[in-house]
Amino acid sequence: MADLMTATHEAAHGAAHGAAQGAAAAPYEGAGSPYRWGMSVDLDRCTGCGACVVACHAENNLPIAGPIDTDEGRSVDWMRVERYWEGHYPEITAHFVPVMCQHCTNAPCEPVCPVFATYHTPEGLNGMVYNRCIGTQYCQNNDPYNVRFFNWFEAALNFPEPLANQLNPDVTVRSRGVMEKCTFCVHRIRDVAADAKAEGRLVEDGEIDTACAQSCSANVITFGNLLDPHSKVSKAVASARRFRLLEGLGTEPVVYYLKGGQA
């Protein structure tokens, strides 16, 4: 009964395999920093429940586009759960893929920005400087994952009073005409990193969690420091099931997916 073979690859030879491949991401001359933030997304756990999507909206003050502009493709979901159909009833399958900015090590969105509004931080994040962005929208054209979102309208207007009270004071409400995207909840990273620095230590594994990872009760998403070989995320990406989206493009994302199914 091969299909009842329930031992997971990890247990079998996953770790070894991962070690062989070297779990951490591609060489990166951001250098210096002891951190290299990364994420793993275990598709075998994901149920497509969408909690992460709303969590990101809540944490990062994402605008509410309204029915018409949502339909016209102007809604903003830094995190979205993509659904892929295959086949026809009854031979049909569907797959969920939670997709957010992959924080590519060779981020195609960065070199094309004429004003350095989007750039790479020493900690391996794809940073976004809103007040520097002039809205050429080039970066989204060059983003193979389509996870960059443009502020088409004065989004703040769609928080009618007193709805604006829900806004997270740690995160800017972006103004019209600038690009935005998943930041790996950088405000949370800064908050903790600052405390750690003040206490003269490094951030410990698990100390930082992104809003999406935190909301996911299925524990699909693991966030952490890829430079720390003992971090949860480093262990996760050592899995034999790991792959990265559109890997062929050589963008070297730091978001690793773990393949679903009996593998």
């Binding site: 149920t47 969408g50 569907a94 935190q214 393949k259």
Partner: protein, 780 residues
Amino acid sequence: MERREFLKLSGLAGTAMVLGGCEDYSSQLIAYVERPIALEPGEGNHFATTCDLCSAGCGVSVRVVEGRSVKVEGLEGHPLSHGGLCALGQAGVQHQYHPDRFRGPDLRAKAGEVSPDHLKLKMLFDDVFKAKKRPTTVPENFKVGLTSFAAPDFALADEKAAEARKFGAELWAQASDRLGKALAAAGAGAVMVLGPQVRGHRYQLFAKAAKAFGAPAPVIVEPFGHEALRAANKAVYGRPEMPHVDLANTQLAMCFGDEPFTTGPAPTLFNWGFGEMRRGRELVRGLFVVVSTRMGEAAAVADLWIPVRPGTHGVIAQLALHALGKGGVTVAEAHEKTGAPVERLEKFVRWVAGTELKVAFGGGEVLGHTNAVETLSLVNGVNVAAGMVGRKGGILPAAPAPIAGMAPPEPIGYKDLLALVDRMKAGQVKALVVAGVDLFMALPGDAGLEDALKAVPEVVSFATVPDDTAALATMVLPDSTFLERWGDATPAVGSGSSVATLMQPLVVPFFETRAAEDVLLAAAKAAGKDLGFASADAFFKAMWAGVANDNQVPGAQSAWKKALRNGGIHKPALGAPLAARMPANALPAPRFEGEEKDFPFVLQPVKSMKYREGQGAHLPWLQEMADPMSAAAWGGWLEVNPHTMEKLGLAQYDEVIVKSLHGEVKVGVVPYPGLPEDVVGMPLNFSRRNGTRYDSVEGGSTWEATMKKDPGRGEDARALLGAKAEQAGGGLAWGSFRVSITPTGAKSKRLVLVSKSIQPQESPAVPARVEQEFKVWPIS
């Protein structure tokens, strides 16, 4: 409190309690009683409480910044949320700051007519917002002494807010008078109808009030609820309540029609269990089998999906029984009856026979069929046959709450609800008190609820935001949200722990709202009846006295503080053993209303995680998020198999009229490969005739940012359902209606799709993409 200590706490505000498996988690939370008042502006603190948006009762941790609740997060280590949260729970803060939330009581001269006083109160609060401020004063009855941080620049707001508060207090005084009189006058003719979230001691207080006024005990109504499941549980396990389905420790989970991760009785809990079952253990990866007609979220993540004709799920349960050598049906028969592919059935049999630990559970679409009770009994029977009742990795008895008197009574059945509606029509109900539920969300379109409500002289609604029941009420006494009041609950489903969750007021009531408890107490007082408590505050503290009393225990933490820190008290425990009666092997064929020739399609009403039973409909976040399967947002859609669309010459976005014997709705078409060709799907409870700006059928409010008119969400699938109680035990068979589809020739203006591409029909290149780029499906 020490500044250093405080800084430590607020530092953790950012981290938001994510320390996986940290030893004393509670130490990171601030007990509300020792709440540091002088917070640094901008710094947040986390307070534990309970999510009140569905009856699962997840423990949550709410980030409060400068007196605003800005984020609801899962409570680490809580037996229901396990540190996570569902999409609806995330939207709790929008419940709190909803722009259309009632600002205060509305004492109407006539049903449905907004009173001038209410409008005045609204204006007063709007002035506060015009000054770009938020109310920072405290309602006069608000005993617990929270003060938010009145920075100088709030002075203006305070003036205006104080004025609004003052006026609101006057209205409340009138309100309790009027409520008291009404209930006294109605006496036994008064009926209290409560939603499933009115539980724990909150229910007890309603009961006390009813008793004091000589009214019958309040009844609980569960819209499109689980009564068939309860009946089945009673039949097989001997108890109606929902046991603990031990997903985390099982090897093979069989899910019959349920959508446990999105719309089930406890999405967060099942989501956690699923994750653990799949990848939580070193050597075992649990297998997940789903039996359903429509491929929903659960089927999408299944290792084995068994597609069956509507209402034939029970046959597969019988097949499982067969595989376990307990009668049942053979693969051939099962294939014959359900139309499921033989090789999958054989695989299923292999898996059932070949695994040691297995568990079967049902719900979702099964609940809507005429044979729901029999089907679910058979499903439960599988656990009995497999000897998994009371066994780890199987079905475990739910433990009672550690505090007495918290479990609410079983919700009334749909039949009783219809009976109540008839009594209202007959004028036998003198006063109707509705709290925690929008009755319209619980009844099909032609149940005649509107006339019934009109026949009741005094209809009192405790709604926080406009809904269809409140629209026909004579009195709206807006309840405070779960972030603004005390409350407690014991979860509706078993979780392997004995749980009493606690709700604490974390922020000042934003408007002139009152906790229902306070309103009832005041009303009783006004009518000269004493319920024995001065305020909701006093009431809950008394109810928790057993825990609260040991405040003076030497050492830092009293049990009470700990309870507040942990959002209640919970410890691993199981209830008294369940019975394990083998159900009869009988499975009546499902009945469908309407002739096949006039109504060629079976309507599969879909509970979307966006809307649940209606709790999500008025929240913009949930309206705007894409439905995981159809990728539709903002209102309703009609799911049709692409081949059927070809036959009917339909295209995406085409507007069609869906017609049943009971009504018709206009809706836009979405290609849905996960449905058989003779079944169409449509979501439930996404719109209200008189809802908020976000969930109104007609809409019309203009979006400020773009000045675009809102087309509205459109008519709900409820309009297509008949009111007859068709299930054994009198449940509503909401999945038993046939419909016809006629294109209007127009494109739907209301349909909103976040993703417009339906692979693979659209482009042959896509499977290649999915395969190469998104290596995500089972290799077997």
